[in-house]
Symmetry: C2
Subunit: 416 residues, 2 copies
């Protein structure tokens, strides 16, 4: 791990769409110990825009490329961050590790189980740090819930639900204009294409890959109507894809079974009109949290009147149960987008490089979470059949050593 | 149909537990055109209690029996209502129809597909009215949503969710003391044991058995912990069943696929601490309703700020979209338990007998909805395998004639 104990980290960005530009500027504005020294994107105008942002905010002129593989040849690059399209996440991660560059990728799902295994094996062979930038693992509520679990508030965990429930019809429909990858994925794939915003936190709560694992799943897709209807209504019947038969069902439901008997229900729901929700729900023998109620109920603690159990606001529990990282963050001053979790997930990556510690979302998490996508495609293609979820740890999940991750710890067994 | 166009209906009750007594008293207090003339329960003390209630409130002395089959021999009985244990619903309905007695049963699930077919065939052979008393079909919100669907507010329907999410640990654990049927079912069965409170309304929204049908399902159960933990905490380690391995998973998830591409997700969740919810959610191409938000969002109508779609209270839509039946009910004065829906579902049965019209929840609805229970047991037993849902209409679902049900209509195509 060549980056161990290095104070300043030289970062390259690969993928400079809206999300890439956003994350890069967050780093420019909030992380003086990070230098952005190289940039790549398939579109030259995006590289130019990003280059100008770096020059304006930091004074240095990063090198620009149309192919990320050129970035990997630069000896001065310590780490590469790839908020690129879904298809390129695995290739960039694999090539980066092979080139000895630490790598962090934005979220998405896998296209095959084989690429998940390649990721694991390449990391095991090279020892190069790799991390999934699953920002929702660092959400204030998600981390408060994690801390409450550690303190025993939920008892034994039984069931969780989550989703990506976000009206993205416009983004999908205008995918060519926006140069956005969702359009082509929705045209050709039917599955849980975006599982990690909910599955990431749930996996940490359920100690997946550290004493527990996901065993199997089955997925089910509704018909596909939402994007076509949006196009016809907003752009007319002659607009591209107005009559195209999208592969992706408007609502995709996935049920996962875990080694210790827990169930997880995921919902992908981005092609119909609705307010945003990650649909989180966690149930244990002693309590429940439900995101859409912003509510908790704890047995023997929360008020009830006979059969009438009353929701309490989870916010009433923040002062007592806020995760140590978020206590620090609130004292430090919350920075960056998506309520601060973008900052935290990037810092978790950067500081793991500086300190030579393991990444808190590691290669086994990545492989397990991202595999859900192609496995759900398989299940739907076979009519909702159960499909097995590989054990990417090859048995190490049973008694993996604690991660010792300090303040960015996301695992139940860590001492933070 | 011997009861056709009969003004006063002579009713017998079979099953006089807490629910039976409640429904019987509701009829005694609110329905002067209904006479309670016979009673049965396996426990003599319950029969005595019910008899006294009738004498006190109406003056007549009903006949009492320990076996419902004796009730069926009484020529003066027009109809039998059976809020009995789950196991007896089918036998009572079958025997009643064979005896020429109209019959309405409280909700529950089936134990085999064969008994669902027997129900259908017996009704088709005898022509005797039969109805499931699914009160939630008559909930004010459920009916408002039904009316909104008819008016096109949701566009094309895509997906629905619902559940029976109710902390019943005490009722289950004390089943022997309470003489309640849940205990034995939870000890021996693993499946969606109580699907109809949510599936009933959803089926009416989705035109199941009238242009649509449920094709297949798969079910998944979490581990079972909640009831054991409740017993140990509240009654001690030596209390009955403290160490018993309950068959029923604490959370059972069922996914149903429909003929026109809709998906339905059901959740049975009664063994963990939580506030009550039926977890209803309905999504179409133009709008969404979510019970737990008490909220709706309609495309182009509800407020949004860029990507930020705002929930509106469904109550803001009641004045304009309240179902005609509920308009009448509010003018008439809402009566009876569970927010009035117990009254409405009982009146729907009684008035169908008085008017000689079909029951609004008919034998095909009953068979399809109740079959979910034993099919989900099959699916769980086979590891989450897809199982087919029979077409109990034998093809009639494609173009069944409108029900012509007047004010108690629950079907999308009816003219109310």
């Amino acid at each position: 791990m060549s980056q161990a104990a290095k104070k300043n980290i030289n970062v390259a960005f690969s993928g400079l769409g809206q999300r890439g530009i956003g994350l890069m500027n967050l780093m420019l504005e909030t992380m003086p110990d990070v230098n952005i020294i190289a940039l790549s994107d398939r579109y030259a105008d995006r590289v130019e825009q990003a280059k100008n942002d770096v020059i304006t905010k930091r004074g240095n002129t990063p090198k620009g490329f149309l192919d990320y593989r050129e970035v990997l040849t630069l000896p001065e690059v310590d780490a590469i961050i790839t908020p690129s399209n879904w298809e390129s996440h695995f290739p960039v991660c694999l090539d980066a590790m092979k080139a000895g560059k630490a790598v962090a990728t934005e979220v998405g799902g896998a296209y095959s189980i084989e690429q998940c295994w390649d990721l694991v094996k390449t990391h095991e062979q090279t020892g190069v740090p790799v991390m999934l930038l699953e920002n929702c693992c660092y959400g204030e509520t998600e981390m408060t819930v994690l801390n409450m679990i550690k303190k025993g508030m939920f008892g034994e965990l039984i069931h969780a639900e989550g989703g990506y429930r976000h009206d993205l019809r416009e983004q999908v429909a205008l995918g060519n204009e926006l140069r956005h990858y969702r359009l082509n994925n929705y045209k050709h794939r039917n599955g849980e294409v975006y599982p990690t915003h909910e599955l990431g936190p749930i996996s940490k709560w359920f100690s997946i890959n550290r004493g527990n694992r996901m065993l199997s799943l089955a997925s089910f897709a509704s018909k596909s109507r939402g994007v076509n209807e949006w196009i016809k209504k907003n752009r007319g019947n002659d607009f591209e894809n107005a009559e195209y038969t999208f592969a992706l069902g408007d609502v995709v439901t996935t049920v996962i079974k875990c080694a210790h008997g827990e169930t997880i229900v995921l919902t992908h729901d981005t092609s119909l009109p609705r307010p945003y929700s990650r649909g989180n729900l966690l149930q244990g023998t002693k309590g429940i949290w439900m995101e859409d109620k912003n509510g908790v109920f704890f047995d023997g603690i929360s008020p009830r009147d006979g059969w009438d159990h009353k929701w309490e606001s989870i916010e009433d529990y923040y002062d007592h149960y806020r995760h140590p990282l978020w206590k620090w963050f609130r004292e430090h001053g919350v920075e960056g987008g998506h309520g601060g979790m973008d900052y935290l997930v990037l810092r978790a990556f950067i500081e793991s490089l500086q300190n030579g510690t393991k990444t808190p979302i590691d290669v086994y998490d990545m492989a397990a979470w991202m595999a859900i996508t192609c496995l759900s495609e398989d299940s739907i293609a076979m009519g909702g059949q159960q499909v097995p979820i590989p054990d990417f740890t090859n048995g190490k999940w049973i008694d993996r050593e604690p991660p010792v991750l300090g303040k960015y710890c996301l695992d139940e067994i860590c001492d933070c």
